[in-house]
Amino acid sequence: MREIIQEFFKKTLTLRLFWLSTAVILLFILPLFISTAYISLISEMLIMALAGCALNLMMGYTGMVSFGPAGLYAVGAYTTALLLKKTGIPFAATMVAGPIMAGLVGAVVGWFCVRRTAVYFALLTLAFAQIIWTIFFEWYDFTGGDDGTVGFRKPELLLSINSSYYFILLIVIICLILLWIIVNSPFGKTLQAIRENPVRTEFIGVNVKRYQLYAFIISSLFLGAAGSLFAVFSGSVFPDYAHWIKSTDMIVICLLGGMYNFLGPVIGSAVYIFLSKLISGYTMYWMLFLGIIVVFLVLFMRNGIAGFISHKIAPLIQENKETEK
């Protein structure tokens, strides 16, 4: 009997598609069970998950550590918000314009950045993100400065939390599928080769810089998409979305979930946002606990939750099974 159960679990555990579709179905029926406040929280998690996955394409898959992803995220958010506020163009067009604008900015920033490696690359992305922050902050007449851009129109359909949740869920899933295809395409494999050994990849005839630039642009596009979604979700955008502290949030989300795992940032985002919500309710020193979590993460769970499970816990189960036999 026991063996049959074990066999059953072993089988189902390996059914990746089964679990993923269960997750998606659950996500779709979630609003039936839980209060809309949590649906709104999950919407936030989904958006940050998308941003994390986009950053992961650059950081985890191509090995380019960026300290300034929030800059591009904010470009997406501001493009959508400003178009909605100042022009009458259709909603769908503004949602497309956000990522495209972020992609364009990403192309310019990336063109400079990929010429540098390691710490210089990271610092250059940081400086560019801060410049983007400065532009949003200083251009009062256009962006509203630190008061942000607020009060832009939203389609009737997205006014309720549940319907905007479905909208966000749909877009995030589509984006994740696109990212998945990119990561598993020959292009994605080349990126991973660059991460493992840029010199060798160059020798086999790959133009490393160009591929890195493409990865930067694609990552920017999806960061912009996340920004646009957040603008619509929250109904207001602020320069702080481009600040380096927001960037560190995104990096922590990637790390927490697991950088070398496609869905790592999804888990990271869920756990990170849920934890900060949970702790902030109990203590005014919640940043202390957040800091401790971050330090613990770096010291003991460098591959994130996903990595931790597959490296530390999964072998334990395996071992148990073997000793049982």
Binding site: M59, V65, F67, F112, R115, R116, A118, V119, Y120, A122, L123, L124, L126, A127, F128, Q130, I131, T134, F137, E138, W244, I245, T248, I251, V252, L255, Y285, M287, L288, L290, G291, I292, I293, V294, V295, L297, V298, L299, R302
Partner: protein, 292 residues
């Protein structure tokens, strides 16, 4: 602008620059040897400020307490730095820079909250100590002695550090470890101890800057975030890990700010970042760094 106004801005630019150099020198020393971008450096600086306030207010009856605080404060931050290095940083030298960045970000949160827990949320000030509390006249301008004192401190720290690095056995060991860690290890140098020592030196410098600042500024939460990015900019301009570069970088940033506020006030916030971007694009090893 007349000549007096220009001299005024030059002097204040130097003053601002030297204060920033005092903070950034520690960051530069740490990056030079440990190759770590220590985001928590600003927080160590802030702790130095809180220590200065705490010592001077608790033992206010002791004469010349500020000067005692100036000795004790940096030592305390250096010890704190030693603990951080031994228990946290040491474990992740082999890892990517990203982990160090995030670890030190976590430290910002932890140390900042601990400051709040210990010293509360208010603003604190420290009086300017005797004998540097007067005013003096330079180029026909009234100028506070304390600012001149800070400029001198900056220069003294710079010369002192350069002398230690150049002429002492300790400096040779540090340079050897910086140059080639494995080789130094093979030669029998205790590399982990040198790392701890250098990190403590960096934190001592941050603590020194933190203790020197309260008499002309304010002790409050959040001052760490205000300085850390400026320090990064200085270290990048001068060349990562180059002490003399940081010195020049600090002066440049100070002067650019001093003149920028009157010539292009709208862009003041962006100046530092623009400088950083230009340097990283055309000469990423910095003004005085060495190309790899």
């Amino acid at each position: 602008m007349d000549i007096e106004a220009i001299m005024g801005q030059v002097l204040s630019g130097l003053s601002v620059g030297m204060v920033l150099f005092l903070i950034a020198s520690g960051l530069s020393v740490i990056f030079g040897t440990l190759k770590i971008l220590n985001l928590a450096h600003g927080t160590i600086y802030m702790i130095g400020g809180f220590l200065c306030y705490w010592i001077t207010s608790t033992f206010a009856h002791i004469p010349a307490i500020f000067w005692l605080a100036l000795i004790l404060g940096p030592i305390a931050t250096a010890l704190l730095g030693g603990l951080i290095e031994i228990f946290l940083l040491r474990r992740i030298y082999a890892e990517e820079m990203l982990y160090q960045y995030i670890l030190t970000f976590g430290l910002i949160l932890i140390l900042g909250e601990l400051c709040k827990l210990i010293w509360g949320v208010g603003y604190h000030t420290v009086s300017v100590p005797w004998p540097v509390d007067g005013k003096m006249s330079i180029f026909g301008m009234i100028y506070p002695v304390y600012n001149i004192f800070l400029i001198c401190c900056g220069v003294a720290v710079f010369i002192g550090l350069m002398a230690v690095m150049r002429f002492t056995g300790l400096g040779r060991i540090i340079r050897a470890v910086t140059f080639n860690r494995e080789m130094a290890n093979a030669l029998g140098i205790n590399v982990p101890m040198v790392y701890t020592g250098v990190f403590m030196l960096g934190c001592w410098l941050a603590g020194l800057a933190g203790t020197l600042m309260p008499p002309m500024s304010v002790v409050a939460l959040g001052t760490d975030m205000a300085v850390i990015i400026d320090c990064f900019i200085i270290v990048v301009i001068g060349g990562m890990g180059s002490l003399s570069g940081a010195f020049i970088g600090a002066i440049i940033l100070g002067l650019v700010n001093a003149f920028g506020i009157s010539l292009l006030p709208k862009l003041t916030i962006a100046f530092g970042f623009l400088l950083m971007i230009i340097i990283l694009i055309i000469r990423h090893w910095g003004l005085l760094g060495k190309p790899e």
